[in-house]
């Protein structure tokens, strides 16, 4: 495994005992992280007290609950929200990082001032706005409010501040439109951040519960998180670990797939953010 260039030489684990302790600690920690997921797989594919693997829990799950529908709903809502929030955040961040214009300080101030506000304080007001628009029980009520992010816009404003001004100027001299400067000059510079933020936005949207549960009323409109939460308390499902774990597996597969695809960008993007502090 190649060592990162700035890797420090902290405590040397030279003795064999120290080395064994190091790996024991790492393996135990990884095991604790993975064990619940392993148990999920095992419980989803086995029958208690019966040998061999089974797909019965999945058959049961899809027969009794509109899980296919919930999965499609979640995929649509989260994909739409993620694409929109990445677009609006990179465009807005580019504008704030690259141009000096009247009102810029006001926008940045508003974003910073609301960065740490808990989203729950919006619930009653947002509920009123959505009712007034006639959006109760629609996907628009979930997708539209989540299609912009002060955090994301701020993130890309900071990342794109590093795009060299000469590069932007050279592209303009070459006849690039401003939109092409964003696409061909700024976005490539922050590519790992785009990957990291895409994953973050998708996972956040995929797992969000409170707002979707408040506005999606009909069972067939539920997202997976809302549907899954509604299953836990059903009488008779207390002991039906297999069905619950099959549902959890269905729910975790899409973000896990995206994570495996984007994980290199993700770690690099987080690291870039962390070093800045």
């Amino acid at each position: 495994m190649p060592r990162p260039p700035a890797s420090p030489p902290p405590p040397s684990y030279r003795s064999a005992a120290a080395k064994a302790a190091l790996y024991a600690g790492l393996v135990a920690s990884a095991a604790v992280a993975l064990l619940p997921l392993g148990w999920m797989l095992w419980a989803a594919f086995t029958e208690p007290d019966a040998p061999g693997l089974t797909l019965a829990h999945f058959a049961d799950l899809f027969a009794r609950f509109p899980v296919g529908r919930w999965l499609a709903n979640s995929l649509f809502v989260s994909a739409a929200q993620t694409v929109l929030v990445v677009l609006t955040s990179t465009l807005g961040g580019f504008a704030l990082a690259t141009y000096a214009f009247p009102g810029r300080r006001l926008v940045v101030g508003l974003m910073l001032g609301t960065l740490f506000l808990p989203s729950q304080v919006l619930l009653p007001g947002l509920y009123a706005v959505v009712l007034r628009l006639g959006w109760a029980d629609t996907f628009a009520a979930v997708v539209v409010p989540g299609s912009v992010s002060a955090f994301g816009t701020f993130l890309f404003m900071q990342a794109m501040a590093k795009v060299p001004a000469e590069l932007v100027q050279a592209a303009r001299v070459d006849g690039c439109s401003e939109l092409r400067v964003w696409w061909e000059v700024a976005l490539p510079v922050v590519r790992p951040m785009v990957g990291a933020y895409t994953l973050l936005a998708f996972v956040g949207s995929w797992n969000s519960y409170l707002w979707p549960a408040a506005v999606l009323l009909d069972e067939s409109n539920y997202t997976l998180a809302v549907g899954l939460a509604s299953m836990v308390g059903l009488p008779g499902y207390e002991g039906r670990s297999g069905v619950l774990m099959a549902a959890t597996l269905v729910a975790i597969a899409p973000p896990a797939g995206l994570f495996l695809w984007l994980q290199r960008d993700f770690v690099a993007g987080l690291a870039a953010g962390a070093v800045k502090g």
Binding site: P8, P118, L123, V129
Partner: protein
């Protein structure tokens, strides 16, 4: 070309500004207005001044919610931050093989989110059949495999803290590992030349190097902890033993959506804003001070 660059930033910001204004700033102001009105339905209301805020001050249930939430947030930080730092230090050791693989394994739980973690821990901790109870039954036959993690207040607290730690430790570890890897290695060499002990090296080189990231994790952990809701809601299926599932957001949801009392719910939201601001100020000050 000059007029083009004058108009472009506004066009690029337009989608953000429209949605941010209409679905963030407007509802925010609206929530403030709703917090001083009493609602008989979404459209029938009358002004009541600060009555909701006065009610919250004297409602013992709200105080239980505030104390529960604050104690959970404190417990999360006490568990998560040291574990994240410990793991980052282990992974940062020289010549660790499979560093990327360990990091991947430890980061995977963050994908689950609060609802899935609540379901996962429900099954993991189920009396009799759950993995944890089977292990307890085997290792401690005197205790047996029928511990009920949902009905005992201490066990329920342990379960919720453990589930949150499972979700967040790897996440914090990735941040800290990145910070550790950016500490100037010459500082370590200088410390070694000066004959510093490992503890002195940690105290005077490593810790100052990761302090901004530690402050950031404490800030994010505090804010997230004070918004705790989904995990206990799913895991305890109600308010839980001795109301251990009653958090501030749970209180807001019960008021606003179960009882249709949107005015009080809005007031709870604004009290939460005040609580989070109070908790965040020392962290923000520390972050600014360390830069």
């Amino acid at each position: 070309m000059r007029s083009r660059t004058r108009l472009a930033p506004y066009l690029f910001l337009l989608p953000f500004l429209v949605v941010f204004g209409g679905f963030f700033l407007l509802p925010l102001v609206q929530s403030l207005g709703m917090s001083v009105r009493a609602y008989a339905g979404p459209r029938a209301s009358r002004p009541v001044g600060l009555a909701h805020y006065r009610f919250l001050l004297v409602d013992p249930l709200f105080w239980v919610a505030v104390l529960n939430t604050a104690s959970y947030a404190a417990l999360f930080l006490l568990v998560q931050v040291p574990l994240s730092l410990g793991l980052a230090l282990l992974l940062n050791a020289r010549r660790v093989r499979g560093r990327a693989l360990f990091r991947l394994a430890m980061l995977l739980p963050f994908l689950a989110g609060n609802v899935l973690a609540g379901v996962l821990f429900t099954v993991l901790l189920a009396p009799g059949s759950g993995l944890v109870n089977r292990a307890v039954g085997m290792l401690l036959p005197a205790v047996g495999a029928n511990l009920n993690w949902r009905t005992d207040p201490v066990l329920a607290t342990v379960a919720i803290v453990a589930a949150v730690a499972w979700l967040t430790v790897g996440w914090g570890m990735v941040y800290l590992l990145a910070a550790l890897q950016s500490v100037d290695r010459q500082l370590y060499e200088a410390a070694a030349v000066d004959g510093a002990t490992p503890w002195q090296r940690f105290r005077h080189v490593t810790l100052p190097g990761v302090r901004p990231v530690l402050a950031y994790l404490v800030l994010v952990g505090t804010i997230g902890g004070l918004q705790l809701f989904e995990l206990p809601y799913v895991f305890l299926q109600g308010l839980g033993p001795r109301l251990r599932g009653l958090t501030v957001v749970q209180y807001l949801v019960i008021r606003g959506f179960d009882r249709g009392d949107l005015g009080t719910a809005a007031a709870v939201g604004w009290v939460l804003v005040v609580l989070i601001t109070l908790a965040a100020i020392p962290q923000l000050r520390r972050m600014r001070g360390s830069q």
